[in-house]
Amino acid sequence: MTSQNRREFIKSAGLVFGSIILFPSCLKNKNNYRFFTSEEALCIIAICEQIIPKDGSPGATDAGVIYYIDNQLSGVFYYDQEIYRNGILYLQKYCEKTYQKPFQQLIPEKQTQLLKILESNQLTETDWPRGKPADFFNRIVGHTMQGFYGSPIHGGNKDYMSFTMLRIDYPLVIGQNRYVSNI
């Protein structure tokens, strides 16, 4: 094989493997989540952004709160998986029925209004067959606060952005007994 041929071979082999092996696996799992499907994640991202909206400083989406929740649901919070999965399903069905759109496509004011309905358990059993809407929503509130204000090592609070907002130094430099200033 000439060097030219070898180069051609490697190039074409790469293309072949790229298209046959790698590409289909990307199709199967084309999102970055461990627990959520892409569609589910869009819904949760929208809810989290309602809970901690972007204003003068970053909101839940910027801080990557979805990654915190996703990580924990496939680990420590495994027992909440069903509440999330069912809750998203019920919420989206309700949105499709009432507004002919998924939750994440509603205007923010509508989203707020709907979350207040969840918070006060105002949906019927037909719309929310298992569990209570408030249990679903309050869990997301708690997890969003943890993801936004907790430590970045668990996902969320990207670059300590909530700490910057709160005007606190972080992290502690061990051995030097001081915090890195990020204010």
Partner: protein, 551 residues
Amino acid sequence: MTNKHVNAIIVGAGASGGVVAKELATSGMSVMLFERGEWPNYDEHPNDELISQRTEVLGSPFGPDPLKNPRVLISKSGERQIVTPISGGYNNNAACVGSGTVSYGAMAWRLMEEDFKLRTVYGHVDGSTLEDWPITYEDLEPCYEKAEWEIGVSGDDTQNPFAPPRNKKQPMPPFEYNHEAKVLCEASKRLGLHPFPIPMLRNSIPYNDRAGCIRNRTCVGFACPVDAKNGTQNTVIPIAIATGNCVLKTGSKVVEIMTNDHGKATGVRYFDQNDKPQIQTADLVVITGAAVETARLLLNSKSKLFPNGLGNNNDWVGRNLMGHAYTAACGLFDYDILDFSGPGATVAWCDFNHHNPGIIGGGLLTNDFNRLPYLYTGMRPPGSAMWGKEHKEFQRSMYHRTARIMGPVQEMPNFEARVTVDSKIKDFWGVPVAALSGEVHPLDYEHCKFLTNKAEEILKEAGAYQTWQNVGGKGGPSGYQHQNGTARMGNDKKTSVVNRYGQVHEIDNLFIADGSIMVNGGGFNPALTIMALGYWVGGYIAKTFATTKFK
């Protein structure tokens, strides 16, 4: 392989167990100190609020393992719910060498003389088993002093007009007030109160060959990165081990105290680090597992002579489970009142411990420990938004501007607040778990309300433009990290579990030395008192063993 027989087994290397180990080992006794957890390691869980001993959201950094150690919570209506160390209602105490003394806030309180004789001072209280202790403050005073000097306390009791008498001053000078404390201190003086610096089991100056405190913001709930917080893990336990007489067995879960046909304790059954069942024999056994686990161990140790568990012939083991009814008032200021120097709590008031008409016992007040960002998300005036734009705006603008004064209010002991064992629910090692039940006494709420009103007055006088109350003292079961009362000490065998030296009434070579034997919790954080009880019981054992050997 059989373990070598020892003089004494100690079950639990926490606030009291570490002290007992040191007292026995330095007297020449051979000691096996069991701890179900491991040595704590700062580097494994640094500065992470979600895995701190105060906010156990994603894990309990100092143990026990959330997956292996369930408990049962029994509601008022009798519903049984399985809980874990990181779910609500578990009443978790750390499981590691040093236990809670690794990560605690480290307040170093002596109880007051009145706390040892509540029945004499206040009389009978309906619905409560309120009683005098069989020992007095004077009995325990030398033990407090030993705890202060050997483990290390910063403080100056001369600034507290309500402090009980002492023979020797605290070994280190007190900490200076942080900004919040300075403001609150001046305001409270205008109200005629008596503020003073909180005594702390923390080095204000280098002490015992360890560094002085660096005022780390993340202090309470964490191990100290410079080892300036004094627990049993960095003081008495290393001394015990250095004698050569004490072996510390970590990762070892004691599940039963064995007794013989003569009613004597002979040793313990335990699962070792590899979860293999083992037996250790000894001349005597000391239990220091904290109120919940100590009661569980006694109740799980059944034999022909003790069919209801050890020390439980009169059904008093596990009874009178107490903690502290925490109560607080919060205030908003129009300037940055917090400076976040750690740990945050620096000023105290003992004006409301005793001698307040209509209040039985009462409790102390202090300014709060630093609240980390997630904990602060739940701290809002009543009626505030708990999510959304308004919640975020409050978080951003008020994080440095919210002061809180709080206190541990003395709970009224209650016979129905208790630890039992649930024979159906087993832990990882197949041992029946503790079940917690019972409500706190109705008076606790009244006492909390009284203290909260006082706390709110101070905040208002200090210039808070808005204040609100979080009144404690309702619901149950009680317990948590200040858990106590489940193996009461007393002179009457019918209404207590141990005598004045922590010796189980029916078994004279079995001792209990932790918070379980406290007759009431006092209106103070109990760590120093539990350490003092370790010196009290340990000192008695060492002295008596030298002559009688408890045979």
